[in-house]
């Protein structure tokens, strides 16, 4: 009764002030914070928020850079996309590229991470070597791979000739070029996956594996029933982030398949290349923006899937 009376008497105002006080919103501090953040926020607004929002807006316009009229056309760009052969090929190629690159690099990196899990000088040396491709810039390495894949004098075809395989037109045959890109993609990203797996494996309490050993579990059983379930959150994280990164593939496509002899860009059409071509070579910027929105939606979709799966992963709280 008494408590009710008190809250009835001064409930509202005291709640408000208590709320303000609990947040500790001091106007001087607030002023300082916004003053300090001003340059960062201005930059953030100009190079992230505005272009992201504008790309959505542009996608509803027939926006040609050099045309005087830029009419609003609703969802027409999106409808056109669905029947645009180049776009559909690009979607398919990018999907295959991403899944293949991520799949192979994960399957290869996981055992390597387990081998390197024990701490030691040698492990550090291996980690360093496997990480080298991750750190090297894309353009020079893509040129180096182009030279490796060279039809006439490439070291890869030479290696194949030693085991009696006829030279492979790595970069000129579209079907094969996609896989040439996958091989390079795996080479580039494997060290990154390896490091993340290594962190995950080292975070597994040694007592879990010891307990499994004492119970007579074989190495495979320990991997299957202890390591793998404990690794699930990081595995999901790696799968999703690598897929997102692979979806943005552009530089190596530009460098490796746009040779002077190969048909420019047609060899292996990827999503970002299609955006680049429509936007900056044909100046169809509204149309290219619709493609860009599609790319963003795909990436957001993968991210949401990851959030969902990680939340449901039982190993996380263990």
């Amino acid at each position: 009764m008494l408590a009710q009376d008190i809250s009835a008497k001064e409930g509202r105002p005291s709640l408000l002030t208590a709320w303000a006080r609990s947040r500790q919103w001091d106007w001087r501090i607030t002023l300082f914070c916004y003053a300090a953040l001003a340059p960062v926020l201005a930059l953030f607004l100009y190079v992230r928020i505005v272009p992201i929002a504008w790309s959505v807006v542009l996608s509803f316009y027939k926006w040609n850079l050099i045309a005087p009229l830029k009419p609003f056309i609703g969802f027409t760009n999106y409808e056109l996309l669905l029947s645009d052969e180049n776009f559909l090929i690009a979607m398919k190629n990018t999907l295959v590229y991403s899944f293949a690159t991520v799949g192979f690099s994960t399957v290869l990196a996981l055992p390597l991470a387990i081998f390197l899990a024990r701490k030691g000088r040698l492990s550090v040396v291996y980690q360093t070597i496997y990480f080298l491709p991750v750190i090297t810039p894309m353009v020079p390495m893509a040129i180096a791979w182009k030279w490796i894949y060279d039809y006439n004098y490439g070291i890869l075809n030479f290696g194949l000739s030693l085991v009696g395989i006829a030279p492979v037109p790595w970069l000129t045959d579209p079907e094969i070029a996609l896989w040439a890109l996958v091989i390079m993609g795996v080479w580039k990203v494997i060290g990154y996956n390896l490091i993340l797996f290594l962190v995950g494996i080292r975070n597994i309490p040694a007592s879990y594996l010891e307990a499994a050993s004492l119970d007579g579990a074989t190495a495979w059983q320990r991997f299957r029933h202890v390591t793998l379930p404990m690794l699930k959150p990081i595995l999901l994280y790696v799968l999703v982030t690598s897929t997102i990164n692979a979806y943005n593939v552009f530089t190596q496509v530009y460098v490796m398949t746009l040779g002077s002899q190969a048909a420019p860009g047609q060899a292996v059409r990827m999503l970002v290349f299609d955006i680049y071509q429509n936007g900056f070579q044909y100046f169809r910027m509204g149309y290219a923006s619709a493609e860009a929105v599609a790319l963003t939606l795909i990436v957001i979709g993968f991210t949401l899937i990851q959030f969902r799966l990680v939340r449901n992963a039982p190993a996380q709280e263990a």
Binding site: L108, P111, P140, I143, Y192, G279
Partner: protein, 282 residues
């Protein structure tokens, strides 16, 4: 101790196999770089030969001299250095300020702003190139240095990393002690937080450097004039012009890769740890 000998033999064989696999993998990782290096020292007559030779028979610096003579690679290199250094300093500073404010202060909009910054980091840069290009076009920054470097001055993950650092490594009591002594918030930022954040700023700066050094698609759009080309763009242009001159192309590639390798080998541990922490890629 006293384990049955058959098992130890198998165990040893297993260890040997693992080492073989690791070594073979490591070899595959470095082979493209070694091949690049070897090719860059070969005279033209040794490049298009069958079967390919691993090592140059008559090693020469001609390719390296050649790239600086036939194309302005010196300029490309300086452009890369310049833009990367500017990006590094800007990202380190903006990340420090924003990270510290988000970590240690309470103000209206804090949660929302921080979440917005992190959420937009997911959106791929490639997907808003067109509007960004139009924006810079409208203020006349296309084909300028400031236009080249602008998108690389801000890094959401840098802010994230710095916030983590300030939250975990700088006790709030330090700030309060300074406040009791009458210090202003600006003073605290400069004299308390900044000096304790050197390492984290360096980590963030390295990422900004790596990112700006490898920049390709943005410079491809913005730099029309060869004077503004960075190494990556210079190499690509060079590739179209001398498509089969792999000696020179590999020399240029070595020049572009080398700074990254040096930075990586010097700061290996921090780079690997932070990449693992943030999931950020170079």
């Amino acid at each position: 101790m006293g384990a049955n000998p058959r098992r130890t033999i198998w165990a040893r064989l297993w260890v040997a196999l693992v080492h073989c696999i690791l070594m073979a993998g490591a070899l595959l990782m470095v082979l493209p770089m070694l091949w690049m290096l070897a090719t860059s020292f070969k005279p033209a007559v040794e490049i298009a030969v069958w079967p390919p030779q691993w090592l140059p028979q008559a090693p020469t610096w001609d390719n390296y001299v050649g790239i600086f003579k036939t194309a302005p690679f010196g300029r490309f290199f300086l452009n890369s250095v310049g833009t990367s250094v500017v990006a590094t300093i800007a990202v380190a500073l903006t990340s420090l300020v924003a990270g510290a404010v988000f970590a240690k202060y309470s103000f209206p909009g804090r949660r929302l702003l921080f979440q917005l910054i992190i959420a937009t980091a997911i959106v791929p840069f490639e997907s808003y190139l067109i509007p960004l290009y139009l924006q810079l076009n409208s203020i006349g920054w296309i084909n300028t240095y400031q236009g080249l470097v602008l998108p690389y001055l801000f890094m959401a993950f840098g802010i994230f990393l710095m916030r983590q650092h300030v939250q975990s490594a700088i006790p709030t009591e330090y700030l309060e002690a300074a406040r009791v002594d009458g210090a202003s918030e600006w003073w605290i930022l400069r004299r308390v937080i900044a000096p304790l954040s050197g390492n984290a700023m360096a980590a963030v700066g390295i990422f900004a450097f790596i990112q700006a050094w490898g920049a390709f698609i943005w410079p491809l759009l913005v730099a029309n004039d060869q004077k503004l080309f960075n190494m990556e763009l210079g190499l690509t242009a060079f590739q179209f012009r001398f498509s089969s001159d792999y000696g020179k192309l590999m020399a240029g590639s070595v020049v572009s890769v080398l700074p990254m390798l040096i930075i990586f080998l010097l700061l290996r541990r921090r780079i690997i740890e932070n990449m693992a922490l943030t999931g950020l890629k170079g």
